[in-house]
Point group: C2
């Protein structure tokens, strides 16, 4: 399966059933042989804007049914116009005394089937007007232009006028005037795939239709910038010829089906960068509006925008396929507030604390190879190297007299900063969280034991490990507990017991060791826990309260 569907014949009906579960619509019975989708709220007192055509262009047209857009849509099979009877039935279903407007894309099948339905409906006494949309500017003058995504703007503008209570002639004239003004062009890197069919490899093409008709020319853009330029050049040329060089534009960037959101973001930026900034005023939010199944391409539509057009594009609609409009602005930028240049070492000094700290860093550096060896059993054998890097950073700061050894809160914060920047890696960030949160506790007046407990809790919250998971927590937590009740020496003893116990922990629940078979870890201590024990052992018998 390379397309999510059940059976090729069910794609259209399944989609309509899905729509009917979440949109304000009623749909015709599946066994009626017709596919009508009508606005559940429509009462025939206003002009009914009706559209449709072959399926495969979703959300057009069924997804555009709802107050403020279409009163009804008729779908055919994939890429195949619906029958005259189906169009006629849709007209009958929704058209009241205000009459209806048929919005028809300029394809022979649609013109004829909608056209005959319109004539029949007229004979039945309905007031019917039609507008034919031919917004594609890519074809030579002597070939009939196709209807592309610009059609959706006609739905929106006519639908808005109808919802506002305009009469049939007014709605039809607005639709006709929009239809005459619209210009669109498409560019795609691929053809559309019908469900179950293999994708036909095809060159990138400019000026293509929405039913796998060949494009007007093969193109080979080297990047998004060029792709947009290739499309915009003929589009702007035609638009300027029709509307002069200083028109204000509403811009629709339509996903033909297969563009990712990332590509649509890049394309949107290109289109809005390449269009003159003082002319591109309103954007329809980039989205798939008139698709060609999964075609990997886009189309651009320009419509001169006046107050009427703007009001219609920004108005609310209950149709779930309409993505909304936005004013186009020059990006507003700002300079981020970066960290203040940290003035490390602004606090008092305490020579004894400095000595202990230096002892701890020396112990860690000395343990480097032991720790790397322990880590080799479960990971890539670099725990010792990482801790040594952190230890050396602290050592250098001590050498340069840049640590506030006489203020424990400030010192913890300074060490936290050093570890984040100079130790790096996950363990550097984790230890930085530990020291930074511990510093906050100390600053709040907690004892070292309490503050460390708080730091451990934060490290646990962000690191995700629990006691018994073979991590440094297994030494840190007993150490903090012992520290709250006793001395650094007690803490060192507790850390040692905790570190040694990790050798018997069968399973690692967090960190990389989580993915290693239990047997490989039997009898091997966790290098992080061992590092913690060695640090506490080196800190020695400092009395903390």
């Amino acid at each position: 399966m390379d397309f999510f569907f059940n059976a090729a014949d069910d794609v259209v009906d399944d989609g309509l059933s899905g729509l009917a579960r979440i949109a304000p619509v009623r749909i015709s019975d599946r066994d009626s042989g017709m596919r009508l989708v009508v606005d559940r709220e429509f009462d025939g007192q206003r002009v009914a804007v009706i559209s449709g055509g072959g399926a495969g262009h979703e959300p057009s047209h069924a997804g555009l049914v709802g107050h403020g857009m279409l009163a009804a849509a008729i779908a055919g099979d994939l890429f195949t116009s619906p029958s005259v009877e189906a169009v006629l039935a849709a007209i009958r279903e929704v058209t009241g005394p205000a009459g209806c407007l048929l919005v028809i894309k300029n394809y022979t099948g649609d013109r004829l089937n909608f056209g005959l339905a319109a004539e029949r409906a007229s004979r039945e006494g309905y007031r019917v007007r039609s507008v034919i949309i031919a917004d594609d500017v890519s074809l030579p003058d002597d070939v009939a232009a196709r209807g592309l995504a610009g059609t959706v703007l006609v739905h929106k503008i006519a639908g808005h006028a109808a919802a506002a209570g305009a009469d049939l002639d007014t709605v039809a004239e607005q639709a006709e005037s929009v239809s005459q003004a619209l210009v669109s062009i498409g560019l795609s890197l691929s053809s559309a795939t019908l469900p179950g069919a293999a994708r036909e490899p095809r060159a990138a093409e400019l000026g293509l239709g929405i039913h796998n008709e060949p494009g007007v020319s093969e193109v080979d853009p080297s990047d998004a910038r060029e792709a947009v330029r290739l499309a915009l050049e003929p589009l702007l040329a035609e638009a300027r010829q029709r509307h002069g060089g200083d028109a204000q534009w509403a811009v629709l960037i339509n996903n033909l089906g297969g563009c990712s959101t990332q590509e649509m973001g890049v394309l949107t930026n290109e289109v809005l960068t390449q269009l003159p900034a003082d002319q591109a005023r309103i954007a329809i939010r980039p989205s798939p509006l008139m698709t060609s199944m999964n075609m990997h391409g886009f189309s651009i539509t320009l419509l001169p925008s006046d107050e009427t057009v703007a009001a219609a594009l920004f108005s609310e609609t209950a149709a779930i396929g309409w993505p909304g409009a936005a004013h186009i602005a020059t990006p507003e930028t700002f300079a981020p507030i970066e960290s203040r240049d940290r003035q490390s070492g602004t606090g008092p000094r305490d020579a004894q604390v400095a000595d202990r700290l230096r002892a701890a860093t020396c112990a860690l550096s000395a343990a480097r190879h032991d720790l790397d060896d322990l880590d080799a059993a479960a990971g890539d054998g670099d725990t010792g190297t990482a801790f040594d890097r952190g230890a050396q950073a602290v050592c250098r700061a001590l050498d340069a007299d840049r640590l506030s050894t006489g203020d424990s809160a400030l010192l913890a914060e300074e060490i936290g900063d050093l570890l984040a920047y100079d130790m790096g890696g996950s363990s550097g960030v984790l230890l930085s969280i530990l020291f930074t949160a511990t510093a906050a506790g100390l600053a709040d007046g907690a004892t070292l034991g309490e503050a460390l407990t708080r730091g451990i809790a934060r490290m646990q919250a962000y690191g995700g490990a629990a006691p018994g998971d073979r991590t440094m927590l297994d030494a840190l937590m007993p150490a903090a507990e012992a520290l709250s009740a006793g001395s650094i020496a007690d803490a060192a003893a507790a850390a040692r017991r905790g570190a040694d116990a990790t050798a018997d922990m069968g399973h690692a629940g967090a960190g990389r060791a989580a993915y290693v078979r239990d047997e490989a870890l039997a009898g091997v201590k966790d290098p992080g826990a061992e590092a913690v024990a060695r640090v506490f052992e080196a800190l020695g018998p400092v009395v903390t309260r």
Copy 2:
């Protein structure tokens, strides 16, 4: 190029620039080395909901910035967590006295970098709380669950609470409670492609992450129904275990990036069909919300829905990436109003008209091969066959006395119906439009010439041809004109001159002949025009007024 982009390193920044042109946001300077997107309207008086992570999940998270959702988003490189400094700068940029909530997806990099930023910001005096989202239910219990599309529901619900003025603890507790309740699972037919890289062929997988992590199991669904079943089974099992068997659900069907709108329609229908109807209450409109570049897959998220959740999901937001919510309903269906069984032949009879009509049908049938031959020069040589089919249908109706030959309006309408159903093809529909619109004119009291002129105008409007395009119009239009001023005999003479003149028309502007080289048509009459001439010639000297 198989992805619309400029350079791999520019995809994220280009997308953010595009966003900043159409969304209510400010973005950090491109050369700042950070990617911050903040709500332009946010004033720090309410709780700032902040999220982010690696890029490649658009519209998450930058597209979700706006009143009612995120106050700020931070993006890293594609699939790479942003730096601690960037997260910290975002906190500083938007956080006011009300504090901020960090919404963090459960990946080690995000947890650590957001975590350290949170601790640093706390030290700087900001009120910061965090919630970690781990909605993926696919992994075994002893492996940390990943954050998937459910994250977006936390943004929406926390963002709504914050916009409504709730305090930090309330917002954080709501977010935490939603986070605990969410369940999600993904299924994809492909991996994600990074721009410029070739797509790695990979089996369909269930329980996959959003960074090309391998899925929990390979699957091989035969259709969309099975794909949805495979995803829903473990999802519902987990959801029922957590929330009991009768919870009311909000359902998010997330496009992982590469699904077409048609596939999303089919998948939506499947999900909402397979979920118990009395439990699935609210749907987020299906759309790409948490993508993995162009990954061809979907994820389903369930969240127990109470009044608070419902109010938040339905509330307005200025974020352009939020697609809106909908109540889930059983599809409401109706039987289309089909054409009344047409009672052909209900009007009076006129033997002379019947004779003339029969003569015309005989003339057309006799002309079949001549017309086919003329058509062979420009088309597939079936014009004669098609006209013969229409003529025979009229003939059979005359034989069965089913035509109202004594009422010209009724007769024209009856012939129009016959041609649409029994002649078929484009020309059948076109002629049906001609007869139906002519009938309307006759019913309004117009003369035959006037009514025919009106019919021709409608045929032209929907058929798209103009005089001189080598079509039946070239005989019909002079005939109608002659008929308005004179007799059928005059009309026949005019039609003959018109048909003969098509032999010298170099270029066909409509119909299939439009694509044939001019030389191939030199001296060949248009078969449609010839058919019209023969019909008028056969109708003979009936006086029409």
